[in-house]
């Protein structure tokens, strides 16, 4: 079929460049050779191709990981940072500490079940808890947009105070900046925290081994779906509230039950359970096999996700942990989670396998298997 108009088509510069760059690559004849080349390319050091930051860089998926590794890990390189755990495990004069920081830019600031204030306190408390630490002291940095209502700020501060009291931590230092209208979206918070690691247990994705069990502490996706619905862009209403909660007690109960069988704890925030499991599979060089029917999801969240065209596995939680434990301790760990008020809906969702390394497999309720990959950016709703 011939083209209708006369004017010669332009060439996409980047695409032609890419083709030219690889022009020398020989054309491989067999499937195995091609797959091997793809494997080699994947192992190469990540490089940020974009000239500017896009929203995908903040979504917690592949783009975020590439940015963090190519810019920050590369610049700051040290053994503690390179673990890329939820917080840093450091030692000071014999004291085993955990240290972490997190920024909060949620919109809307107030949503069913919480607000940016308790989210910021719980988020940092949870990062410390995931290091196996008892959270002690927090700092908070506040960035306010000119014109922001003082009453709202008071409401946020009150909610932070409540959350800190509930978590048994004190907010001991802070900082406030105001930027011109339009330079921020109301209120941004950054919290940092330190805690003490009193248990003699080494947690980390690298300790995970085949045969281990994978647990999740309750129904997933509540927070993300709540916030998406609270934005009011959709005319959907669902009876779901954010799961934001401090999990240090829950984590302690789990660690008591699992003892030295505990391998790694992660807070399933941005990117959801799917992203956490991919990070673990990648760091430990193992496969993670998840049973779809065993993953707890509330009907409301499932329904809203179907309508939104997104997968709950990628939706953020703010009060759910993913734990990998020695299979021999799985039953005890699960019982301990379920005995805690925050873990009543806990479930064993899968296990660790030696094959395929670095991948997360989902056995679907339909009886099939699929790979659960990291997303590039935010889960984008599908239309077709």
């Amino acid at each position: 079929m011939s083209a209708p108009q006369g004017n010669a088509p332009a060439r996409a510069g980047w695409a032609e460049e890419a083709v030219a760059t690889h022009a020398g690559a020989e054309h491989l004849r067999t499937e195995e050779q091609v797959l091997e080349r793809v494997e080699r390319a994947r192992r190469r050091r990540p490089r940020v191709r974009e000239e500017r930051i896009t929203l995908a860089h903040g979504a917690g998926g592949k783009a975020t990981r590439t940015l963090v590794e190519a810019v920050f890990v590369d610049a700051f390189r040290n053994p503690v940072l390179e673990q890329l755990e939820d917080g840093a495990a450091v030692s000071v004069g014999g004291a085993r500490l955990a240290f972490t920081t997190d920024s909060f830019v949620v919109s809307p600031l107030f949503f069913p079940g919480g607000d940016i204030g308790d989210l910021a306190v719980n988020g940092t408390v949870n990062d410390l808890a995931m290091c196996g630490a008892r959270p002690l002291h927090l700092s908070v940095g506040v960035i306010l947009e000119e014109g922001f209502p003082v009453a709202d700020l008071q409401r946020i501060a009150a909610s932070m105070a409540r959350a800190a009291a509930a978590a048994g931590v004190e907010i001991v230092t802070g900082d406030t900046k105001v930027v011109r209208r339009g330079q921020a979206d109301g209120c941004f918070l950054t919290t940092a925290g330190i805690g003490v690691r009193e248990r003699d247990v080494t947690l980390g994705a690298a300790t995970v081994r085949p045969g281990d069990a994978v647990l999740v502490s309750g129904p997933i996706g509540d927070h993300g779906v709540t916030v998406m619905l609270a934005r009011g862009e959709l005319d959907i209403e669902a009876d779901v509230v954010s799961d934001t909660a401090p999990m240090h007690g829950l984590a302690a109960a789990l660690l008591d039950a699992a003892g030295d069988g505990a391998r790694v704890l992660r807070d399933a925030t941005r990117g959801g359970v799917a992203t956490i499991l991919n990070e673990i599979a990648g760091a430990a060089g193992v496969g993670v096999v998840v049973d779809e029917a065993a993953v707890p999801v509330r009907e409301e969240v499932l329904g809203a996700s179907e309508l939104l065209g997104i997968d709950p596995l990628y939706v953020a939680c703010e009060g759910r942990l993913v734990a990998v434990v020695d299979a021999a301790r799985a039953a005890a760990a699960l019982a301990a989670l379920r005995a805690h008020p925050l873990g009543a809906g806990a479930a064993l969702i899968g296990h660790v396998a030696d094959d395929p390394p670095g991948l997360v497999l989902l056995r679907t309720a339909f009886g099939g298997t699929r790979i659960v990959d990291l997303l590039v950016g935010d889960p984008l709703p599908r239309i077709c």
Partner: protein, 386 residues
């Protein structure tokens, strides 16, 4: 989700799979094309291919509306979005589609006001609320989404909203199927017909496929059991030597289609003489444009749209992959110049495109899953909370 679960039952699937396997003639291989991106999504999401015998292959067709959009149209849309006081609105899956000068996400990062919406009515709402800006809706999709675009234009006209227009990229499915059927090296045994499109156009328009091209077509729904059922119907037709159009999705799709929806489309839009498809080239009468009567709501007329044409790089072999002639790995640029991070061709754009799926998951072959090397999930505790 009772309604949904009944279409996702694993035992029913296994029973159906046994019946499908029984229909396979020994030594023969079958390839069926699912025309619709929604089907590809279902197949992938539920791991449906695990239920099919090795001898049946599903070929992912051209039915993903964002994937078939040529780069030039993306560039045109970005050019509109970059004009002062314009808010561009688009469906979420449009945001990452690369044009010759980058995607909507890139344009947004460079300062253009581009917002994600869930329906054209959301875009109209933005227009109503921001009268000092002009809101453009990036209209994409097959006959499935065209009625809602048309309805929105009618509504804007009725309400006298002047700061709203659509950049119309609606395409029609039949000419695309024709283009595939006309390809000399086509090797297919039948089609899974698109469910949503058919709710609008009905089943009649597919009859030429059976009659003139000797290919069976079964219109299928979007639940995994719908698709298995449709594959079963295709296999039965093949076994019995029939070539017919059948409707597996009759609970939703009327044979005659939806007259009202077709009328609304016809009121607002007309066929373009030509439209370019990524990977398939120019196809005559394969897309729609806004009629003269609604010119005020046509972004192409309100703005100086550059009318960019960006050629697919010569090395790109998407056409062959779309038609099922080449396997993704056989393309000359697969895995080198063309990767999911820098997709050159349409099949690499969405994660469900044939090439992207293969790039990400090809190294983990289905046979390994089947052999069970990943082992069953040992559920220490069978209590499942749902």
């Amino acid at each position: 989700m009772r309604f949904v679960d009944e279409f996702r039952d694993a035992d029913t699937a296994r029973a159906l799979a046994t019946r499908i396997a029984a229909l396979c003639e020994p030594g023969r291989r079958y390839a069926f094309m699912e025309v619709c991106g929604g089907h590809t999504h279902t197949i992938y999401k539920h791991g449906l291919e695990d239920h099919l015998p090795e001898s049946i292959r599903l070929v992912h067709g051209p039915g993903c509306p964002v994937c078939v959009l040529p780069m030039g149209r993306v560039d045109d849309a970005v050019a509109i979005a970059e004009q002062p006081d314009v808010i561009m609105t688009a469906f979420g899956d449009m945001m990452r589609v690369p044009g010759g000068r980058g995607s909507f996400f890139d344009a947004k990062a460079a300062g253009a006001d581009i917002r994600m919406v869930y329906s054209p009515l959301d875009a109209l709402k933005i227009a109503r609320n921001t009268p000092d800006k002009h809101v453009v809706f990036m209209a994409i999709g097959f006959e499935t989404t065209a009625p809602s675009t048309a309805m929105t234009v009618l509504r804007a006209a009725r309400e006298g909203i002047e700061n709203f227009s659509v950049f119309c990229n609606h395409v029609t499915i039949i000419p695309a199927i024709k283009a595939i059927l006309d390809s000399p090296d086509l090797r297919l045994d039948g089609f899974l017909g698109p469910g949503h499109v058919s709710t609008v156009i009905g089943c009649r328009p597919y009859e030429f496929i059976a009659r003139r091209h000797g290919q069976p077509l079964v219109v299928a729904g979007f639940e995994p059991l719908d698709i298995l059922q449709a594959v079963h119907q295709l296999m039965r037709q093949r076994r019995e030597g029939r070539c017919e159009v059948e409707n597996q999705y009759s609970r939703v799709v009327p044979w005659q289609g939806n007259r009202r929806a077709l009328e609304v489309i016809g009121e607002v839009m007309e066929l373009r003489p030509w439209f370019e498809w990524r990977g398939l080239g120019f196809i005559s009468q394969s897309a729609m444009q806004v009629r003269d009567a609604y010119a005020a709501f046509d972004a192409e007329r309100r703005f100086a749209v550059p009318g960019v044409r960006v050629a697919d790089p010569k090395a790109c072999q998407c056409g062959e992959v779309l038609k099922g002639v080449l396997e993704p790995w056989e393309c000359k640029v697969f895995g080198t110049a063309c990767t999911p991070e820098t997709p050159i061709g349409t099949c690499m754009v969405s994660s469900e495109g044939a090439c992207a799926a293969y790039y990400n998951f090809g190294r983990f072959s289905r046979s390994r899953v089947r052999a069970g090397s990943a082992g069953p999930t040992p559920l220490a505790d069978p209590v499942v909370l749902r």
